[in-house]
Amino acid sequence: MGTLSRGDVEHVAHLARLGLTADELARLEVQLNHILDQYAVLSGLDTDAIPPTAQTIELENILREDVARPSLERAEALANAPERDERNVIVPAILGGD
């Protein structure tokens, strides 16, 4: 298993959309590598023939009728948005152009 360089830490922070200061990046490089060292124990286990477990209860998909049901009022759903008008959450533009 791998070792994380400072560049790797910066790349992962970008993937996670996390703003990190230089101090935080330096600390995380040390701490994440220390934690990854703990993972090494797993490579000693032969799991080629073992199926993965994603969840532990034996529930099948549960479906319901596709019918409209009461939900939050629009004003309630919008109330927590940092930027909003009466009908919409206002989001930054994601496409270029003037």
């Binding site: 992962v12 959309r17 124990v41 993965p52």
Partner: protein, 518 residues
């Protein structure tokens, strides 16, 4: 001045007196509010104490109780025993119109637009919600030091941690601010703080309690669980919140045993249940680094159970040692996905940095604390291209082996496992804060249970150096009732122990000032 003695009653005793009409919910709630207000500056267990809401709910409960008393025994029997009883909620359970910070700055100012399923259930039962309890940010931590709102303290020693992540939930019950509270347990976050504060805490089977309206951490592991000072009290709270809810597709359509409300009141009857009960003692749970005082209390508890008629069988759960690594891949991976929703657009903390990417980076960078950032980084890395198979898939395969260990033990005729909860008693603030791995080791005995989706609980098993030690009981899926009966039996056989009557020592100085208050 309300009677502080009311805060020492069990929830069962409160319930009996409320029904009999010789105590009102309002008196009870006032007594608990007074204690919580007085001691919270020292404990920081509560992020919100909702005096007005609690008094209103208490008056409603009193009206329901009075009406039922007028209508006779049958009407009283229909009321849930929690009617009029104060409870506290970890601050990641949604209560309509109130805050829900999950211990994070990124949810500061957020107002829940709806009630969680369990909030609806508690309201329907007539329980009185006193407020919201402190926790490690997004339930990531074992000490409550990772709360953005300051650490909670341990009622046994105000210079020590109460455990975590549900540290406020545990501390509030240990201190008598509420008889009951709600926590969540993803890797030990109910059981470990219960152990460190000397109360009862259960993590039910995965799927037993709906998570609708509860802030998600790791969705294949998170479960909601009750805290109380006795097995009967905690069982009563589980009864109120458990059961299928269509809004959480992982909540299971399993009947909730009514007998959770009818655990034996008599010590003799409770202890008799131990006869022929087969208890497995997993040798791998006596981990390196375990404090001698903790191991001694666990061995004594096992000996007491054996002396009372339980059969003790040594068992092996050989993949226990892989639990920590497996958990710290799976849980951060799921967390990194769940926490992607905190984008500063639809709700919560928002910082504008320029374009959309800069907004995300600025919002998340300033909104999340250090432990949450670490876990998001770990999880993002474990799921990233080229590492998925080596980390996440590998961990899911080892999870299969961990679960198979438990299946084999229970398949061999073991009724329940008994083990330590935490390798150590409550530690001083700061002692594990600088080394994340040292903090993670606090949960080494609890997180395999989450990996396998099983019910587990912590019950008080005495003191080491004056600090509480928890005994862990682990059962097969859906065996919560059997675990509560076992817990009740252990209470019965240790009813005369000197430590049973010991008040949390850290609050003694505060309470000494109450002497002379009428």
């Amino acid at each position: 001045m309300p009677d502080p003695g009311l805060t020492r009653l069990t929830a069962v005793a409160m319930s009996d007196r409320l029904r009999a009409g010789d105590l009102s919910s309002r008196e009870l709630v006032d007594a608990h509010l007074a204690r919580a207000e007085r001691e919270n500056p020292a404990l920081n267990a509560w992020l919100v104490i909702d005096e007005a809401g609690a008094r209103g709910a208490a008056d409603e409960a009193d009206a329901r109780l009075a009406q039922a008393r007028r209508n006779g025994a049958e009407a009283l029997a229909v009321l849930h025993p929690l009617c009029g009883v104060p409870v506290g909620l970890k601050d990641l359970v949604s209560v309509r119109g109130g805050q829900c910070t999950a211990g994070s700055r990124i949810l500061a100012g957020y107002v829940s637009p709806y009630d969680a399923h369990i909030t609806e259930r508690l309201r329907a039962a007539g329980a009185v919600i006193l407020g919201k309890l402190n926790m490690d940010e997004f339930a990531m931590g074992s000490s409550t030091e990772h709360s953005a709102y300051g650490p909670a303290a341990n009622p046994w020693d105000l210079g020590r941690v109460p455990g975590g992540s549900s540290g406020g939930s545990a501390a509030s019950v240990a201190a008598g601010h509420v008889p009951l509270s709600i926590g969540t347990d993803t890797g030990g976050s109910v059981r470990q703080p219960a152990a460190l504060t000397g109360v009862v805490g259960m993590k039910p089977t995965y799927g037993r309690v709906s998570r609708y309206g509860i802030v998600a951490f790791a969705s294949s592991l998170d479960q909601v669980g009750p805290f109380g000072r006795t097995a009967r009290d905690a069982a009563m709270l589980l009864h109120a919140i458990a059961g299928r809810d269509a809004r959480d597709s992982t909540s299971a359509p399993r009947p909730v045993p009514e007998d959770l409300l009818h655990l034996p009141a008599s010590d003799d009857e409770a202890a008799a249940g131990l006869r022929g009960f087969r208890l497995g003692l997993p040798r791998e749970y006596f981990v390196a680094g375990m404090e001698a005082g903790v191991e001694a209390r666990i061995r004594e508890a096992v000996a007491a159970l054996a002396a009372a008629g339980a059969e003790i069988v040594d068992v092996s759960l050989p993949h226990t040692d892989y639990g920590l690594a497996t958990y710290y891949i799976v849980a951060p991976a799921e967390a990194s996905a769940n926490l992607a929703r905190y984008d500063g657009i639809r709700f919560g903390h928002a910082v504008r940095g320029g374009d959309v990417l800069a907004n995300y980076v600025a919002t998340r960078g300033s909104g999340f604390g250090p432990e949450v950032k670490r876990r998001i980084m770990l999880g993002t890395y474990a799921l990233s291209a080229g590492y998925y198979d080596a980390y996440y898939l590998k961990a899911q395969k080892v999870r299969t082996l961990i679960k198979a260990d438990f299946d084999a033990a229970f398949g061999s005729g073991i009724d329940a496992l008994v083990a330590p909860v935490s390798p150590f008693v409550a530690w001083p603030f700061g002692a594990r804060l600088d080394d994340p791995v040292a903090m993670y080791l606090a949960d080494v005995c609890t997180l395999p249970v989450n990996m396998a989706g099983l019910p587990g609980m912590s019950i008080p098993a005495g003191l080491s150096d004056g600090l509480p030690v928890g005994l862990q009981l682990i059962g097969p899926a859906w065996s919560e009732l059997a675990l509560f009966r076992l817990a009740r039996a252990y209470e019965a056989i240790t009813a005369g122990a000197a430590w049973r009557g010991t008040e949390p020592s850290g609050l003694a100085a505060l309470r000494a000032q109450e002497v002379g208050v009428p």
